[in-house]
């Protein structure tokens, strides 16, 4: 009897292709474990360099693995994971972010004298979480992935644990983060109750079958709280400036881009499931609030890390504008924006990391006075990133904003567009303030200028090329984003529904 039973069991076991579909996650985990195992075997000085190289190799191997993953689109592990253009896009994005962060950490580790093993391993594990978030189509897995990335970033935020500020930022991040996750979970439980499933496709099917039950509305609202926290959207943004100020600078670069991008990816999947109009006003208000609060608060900041934190809240608001727009156009705009934002923000934080020096001493606006003269190349690089954050043409930031606002206009969100455009005008002021400080003021302090190490140069070059590429030739990335946005529609019954959905979506524009 057991022999007859066996083939049936074997068929339900994961197939080989299933493992290829999570290959990037497997590769990153393995490299993370290698880093942890090797750490105690090496002495502190040589260890930092070698472990950093292994971690970098891990990230690059993860990128290569993503290529293999992209060859086998489809679902895996009993509909828990879906590999499509959408998840491949976010995999490439977050793993590239990890690689750049590892590169810009090299110098930081040596200056701050941080033990490298756990640091690099946690970056890799955190990347596993964010990568998994983008391909998960099951709420259980989304939750697990969210927690993998969150717990890694809680610890990373407190890595300068002898600094009171760092420990405090970690504690704040942890308390508010787990509070938000609890809300998210309560929402997931209610969604399970409303539809009887935790699979996104099945939930979509259940919700389309009839009028959306009240329980599902409450569920989505609660889930939005949890994800809104992750993307630092107002009114769930209070933690952002404090955590960004206290956490190690390269980690802030990571936290402000990778988990954010992944949380937007999850939000997109959830938004596609629920009819967008169901939570339209929630998103509208969150977008308007984030943009306004972020930009207005950034005005009065003297600490550059804090200023960039408020700027990141404002940028989350711009992305939410695209969410409020209808599915098809909005999705590709969101994807493009997260990529462009990652490139320019990582670059800006890499410069801030280097300039802040040992103990993160030089982080106020005053310290940036005269930087244009003392290290012209670094100042010029930072200027380009800041111009991109403003949204000046020829940089990635311009097209990112352009696509977001054109999607909003096409969806008839005139008021939200007006608020957004006004905000980007206001936002220009505080970015320009840093540039003015660098070029038009004389330095009043004696600030040591350290030579930029090779690793940092490579990291900056990658960010710079990405920012300019997205600004000069946005076509290919945008085309890719549009193609994968089409695949995102939940496949309730493949072919018929999805093409019908696309049709109605284009009709509304």
């Amino acid at each position: 009897m057991s022999v007859a039973f066996l083939p049936g069991v074997l068929q339900t076991l994961p197939q080989n292709a299933d493992y290829v579909r999570i290959l990037p996650e497997i590769v990153l985990s393995v490299f993370g474990m290698i880093v942890m195992v090797l750490e105690p075997l090496l002495d502190e000085k040589t260890g930092q360099k070698i472990l950093g190289l292994i971690a970098l190799a891990g990230a690059l191997a993860g990128l290569a693995a993503t290529w293999f993953m992209a060859q086998v689109p489809g679902v895996a592990f009993w509909n828990m994971i879906r590999v499509d253009g959408f998840s491949v896009f976010f995999h490439v994005l977050v793993i590239a972010i990890a690689a750049v962060v590892i590169l810009s950490s090299y110098e930081y580790m040596a200056v701050q004298r941080i033990r490298a093993g756990e640091y690099y391993a946690l970056i890799l594990f955190g990347t596993v979480g964010v990568a998994l978030m983008s391909s998960a189509v099951e709420l259980v897995l989304i939750f697990i992935a969210l927690e993998i990335s969150s717990i890694s970033s809680y610890v990373l935020a407190g890595f300068r644990r002898h600094e009171a500020a760092s420990a405090e930022s970690s504690l704040k991040y942890f308390l508010l983060g787990s509070f938000a996750t609890a809300f998210f979970l309560y929402g997931v439980a209610l969604m399970f109750g409303a539809t009887g499933s935790t699979n996104i496709d099945l939930i979509a099917q259940a919700l389309r079958a009839g009028p959306i039950p009240l329980l599902a509305f409450v569920a989505v609202a609660l889930m939005f709280v949890g994800l809104g926290f992750k993307v630092a959207a107002a009114p769930f943004h209070i933690w952002t400036p404090d955590v960004y100020e206290g956490a190690p600078a390269p980690i802030v670069g990571f936290m402000s881009t990778a988990p954010k991008a992944a949380a937007f990816a999850v939000l997109l999947r959830v938004v596609f499931v629920i009819n967008v109009h169901a939570i339209f006003w929630v998103i509208w208000i969150a977008a308007a609030l984030s943009m306004t609060l972020g930009n207005v608060s950034a005005f009065v900041q003297d600490n550059v890390k804090r200023l960039l934190a408020y700027s990141s809240i404002a940028h989350a608001g711009y992305v939410l504008v695209a969410f409020a727009a209808a599915p098809q156009l909005g999705t590709s705009a969101v994807m493009f924006y997260t990529a462009a934002y990652a490139a320019m923000n990582l670059g800006a934080f890499a410069v801030v990391t280097h300039f802040a020096n040992a103990g993160e001493r030089y982080v106020t606006l005053e310290d940036y006075e005269g930087l244009g003269r003392s290290s012209p190349l670094l100042a010029a690089t930072l200027t380009i990133f800041l111009l991109s954050l403003i949204g000046i043409p020829m940089t990635g930031g311009f097209f990112a904003k352009f696509y977001v606002f054109s999607a909003a206009v096409k969806a008839n969100l005139i008021w939200l567009t007006i608020i957004g455009v006004l905000n980007s005008g206001v936002g220009a002021y505080y970015y320009l303030r840093i540039i003015v400080m660098m070029y038009m003021r004389e330095s009043r302090k004696e600030i040591p200028v350290t030579p930029t190490p090779l690793a940092l140069r490579v990291a900056l070059a990658v960010c710079l090329v990405a920012t300019l590429y997205l600004g000069l030739f946005p076509g290919r990335v945008l085309q890719y984003a549009q193609d994968s946005a089409q695949q995102l529609v939940p496949q309730t019954s493949p072919g018929v529904t999805s093409s019908a959905k696309v049709h109605t979506a284009t009709e509304t524009f």
Partner: protein, 105 residues
């Protein structure tokens, strides 16, 4: 008499909602970080209760399995959280949330 003793899904949901509210109030009003942590655990238990109740309603074991995942995650979170709390305590010699005030505005 016997029908009055029958416990329906709604009973579980009300209990879950009560636990959830208790947890939220605890997080917002308590000043001791350890108690705040316990309140967050309370919310997670409310979630577990809801999941198991819904699982009974719909049939199948989805909810139960999900609850086990959440319990595991809560353990990991508590371990990390207490570790962070100890790092914080070493710097400031307190677990009072009002003293978490180095970073503001």
């Amino acid at each position: 008499m016997e029908s009055m003793l029958h416990i329906t899904t709604l009973h579980y949901l009300v209990l879950g909602a009560a636990l959830f509210l208790l947890g939220v109030v605890g997080v917002l009003t308590r000043r001791n970080v350890v108690i705040v942590l316990m309140s967050i655990e309370l919310i997670l238990n409310a979630v577990n209760l809801n999941l198991v109740a819904f699982s009974r309603l719909w049939g199948g074991l989805h909810g139960q399995v999900f609850a086990i995942f959440i319990i595991t995650d809560a353990a990991a979170e508590a371990a990390v959280g207490l570790g962070i709390l100890i790092a914080f305590f070493r710097n400031k010699e307190t677990v009072n949330i009002d003293e978490v005030n180095l970073l503001k505005w």
